[in-house]
């Protein structure tokens, strides 16, 4: 929560996120706060859509945590599709885990499935670079 607020406060100035982990957003309010706070930011946001019962998601958790620690300039958040079904629906999540990469409030990339190399590659690709990076790739 503190992260979301610090993100919001630091938003327009391109501050790097202080935390090095995955932030879980459990309520609509938390989601709104964090998401809106990132809209004007150049910082890459990675949304991990998963579910508490999802084995494949669990199998991938260590890898995601490792990436969050490694890429401290990227904001990693976790959304449970049962806790926030309207958000999952808004992002058209049908399989899990799904990782949606956002920059300046727009989707720049997406990975479906526990795919370590692909996630790491795309995070690396999008974390720096211009805000004009506006690919809307839907990974089938």
């Amino acid at each position: 929560m503190g992260t979301a607020i610090s993100n919001m406060l630091g938003a327009g100035e391109g501050n790097e996120s202080e935390h090095s982990g995955v932030t879980k957003l459990s309520s609509s309010a938390q989601w709104q706060l964090h998401f809106n706070g990132m809209k004007d930011s150049n910082q890459l946001l990675v949304i991990d859509f998963s579910a508490s019962w999802c084995g494949p998601c669990k199998s991938f958790e260590p890898a995601v945590r490792h990436m969050a620690v490694k890429f401290t300039d990227v904001s990693f958040v976790k959304v449970d599709v049962d806790e926030l079904p309207e958000v999952a629906k808004e992002f058209d999540v049908t399989a899990m885990p799904t990782f949606v990469l956002m920059k300046n409030g727009k989707e720049v990339d997406r990975i479906v499935g526990a795919k370590q190399d692909e996630l790491e590659n795309k995070v690396t690709k999008h974390r720096g670079g211009d805000s004009d990076d506006d690919h809307h790739q839907m990974v089938k």
Binding site: P56, K58, S59, A95, Q116, E118
Partner: protein, 440 residues
């Protein structure tokens, strides 16, 4: 001499084994044996030897000329004759002495669904991942990729695939894995989420390298004993069968063991298991990693899916793919509650590909079974194909069998060489067909 030392360390994350393989013109083992015999004779006798290498067609054939100087010339001549008797041409030895075993062992466990409710629909999917991972460790494989949808969880393993449905688990593993070690722990984990075993099915083809398998996989009788020991004694309906075509060359039998608590099959989908060997070499090349592909197994896998045409077998399915290093490919397809899976060992000498899916015979939107099979087999253009179809709860329909044979003959020039059928109480009818190209 070209000997390929194939490092499959990336393919098997838990083991670091090496395997040799060679293409048909090379004769490494013959050479090795001759060298060993030579060293043995040199220890006891002193002779002058003259070696010459013969033509480059048979790169490692050696001819031996000797001059004897001692009284044990008879002994020497005996050793020499043994030495020369060792088969030297590729036609006398199998294509490869040892290589990666593509043929899978498949285990299916089905559970009673009385504890599945609308409020609690997840069943086996509630088993925590750490526990599943421990079972996979025992079997000697590990998860490399995974995806879940509302119907089931699909894991791509270092040695094939795992599917977890609310009341069904399917594990399919290749290489020299210890698949049957998973039965007891899985039954135990299922009991923890209030699920009771209803039926078990174990099946496999014939190994390319049967002597490389550990116990009990050296004999189907031993495997059956191990499975039975792991199951509840109350399972009244049991059957083991080895379906052996009388004319196939080499002999490729289909081994099935089923056991269930009741006689009526509960599964609604038909399961089709396709095993292909002698893959077309050009097609098989798609499944080797390219130099400079940035070491990304996921994008390499996606590229292979696209290039090979695997993405067109069922255009509706979401494909979770993975490319192994330096070669090899696995994918799980997810389409609603339907699964499919493909595994490829592309190396010449022991090339292998499998395709499996669960489907309904009267699918309409999902594609006719014969068309799906034709598309899958066309990706590989194999020299030898076998198809095992398990009807489960569906009534056996002979028209379907004949249609598959017609379509494969017409579209791929594959002639059905044998067709066998067997009934398994609690599991349904199994039809086993084998095909080779018409002009072979």
């Amino acid at each position: 001499m070209h000997t390929y030392i194939h490092n499959i360390q990336n393919k098997h994350k838990l083991s670091s084994s090496f395997s040799f393989h060679y293409a048909c013109n090379h004769d490494f083992i013959g050479l090795l044996t001759r060298m060993l015999l030579l060293l043995y004779t040199l220890q006891n006798l002193s002779y002058k030897y003259h070696f010459s290498s013969t033509s480059h067609h048979y790169l490692s054939l050696l001819s031996l000329q000797t001059h004897t100087h001692t009284h044990s010339s008879a002994l020497f001549l005996l050793q020499l004759s043994l030495f020369c008797y060792i088969p030297t041409s590729s036609s006398d030895l199998p294509m490869a002495v040892s290589g990666f075993e593509g043929f899978e062992k498949r285990l299916e466990l089905r559970f009673f669904n009385d504890s599945i409710t609308n409020n609690n629909p997840m069943g086996l999917r509630l088993i925590d991942f750490e526990s599943l991972d421990q079972v996979l460790n025992e079997v000697q494989c590990t998860v490399v990729s995974a995806v879940a949808n509302h119907s089931f969880d699909a894991y791509v393993l270092s040695e094939s695939s795992l599917f977890v449905y609310p009341t069904k688990i399917i594990i399919k593993t290749c290489g020299t894995t210890q698949l049957l070690k998973s039965i007891r722990p899985l039954i135990h984990l299922a009991r923890n989420v209030n699920l009771t075993l209803r039926a078990c099915r174990y099946s496999r083809g014939s190994f390319i390298f049967p002597n490389s398998q550990p116990f009990p996989y050296t004999s189907f009788e031993d495997e059956v004993v191990i499975v039975e020991e792991s199951l509840p004694k109350s399972f009244r309906y049991r059957k083991a069968s080895v379906m052996t075509p009388s004319n196939s060359n080499p002999s490729r039998a289909w081994h099935v063991f089923t056991a269930s608590a009741d006689v009526e099959p509960d599964e609604t989908l038909v399961v089709v298991e396709v095993c292909m060997t002698e893959l077309d070499r050009v097609n098989a090349r798609s499944f080797f990693r390219r130099k400079g592909d940035e070491g990304n197994s996921d994008s390499a896998g996606k590229e292979m899916t696209r290039l090979s045409g695997i993405d067109m077998i069922n255009a509706n399915a979401f494909i979770c793919d993975f490319a192994f290093d330096p070669c090899g490919y696995s994918m799980n397809g997810v389409d609603g509650d339907r699964y499919s899976t493909i595994h490829v060992t592309p190396e010449d000498g022991f090339s292998y590909a499998s395709f499996e899916c669960g489907l309904s015979l009267y699918d309409g939107g999902h594609g006719d079974i014969a068309e799906v099979l034709a598309r899958a087999i066309d990706v590989f253009r194999p020299g030898c194909v076998s198809i095992a179809t398990t009807y489960n709860g569906e009534d056996y329909d002979h028209e379907v069998t004949k249609r598959v044979e017609r379509v494969l003959a017409k579209k791929l020039g594959l002639k059905c060489r044998s067709r066998l059928m067997d009934e398994f109480p609690g599991s349904g009818t199994v039809v086993y067909q084998s095909f080779t190209p018409r002009r072979k």
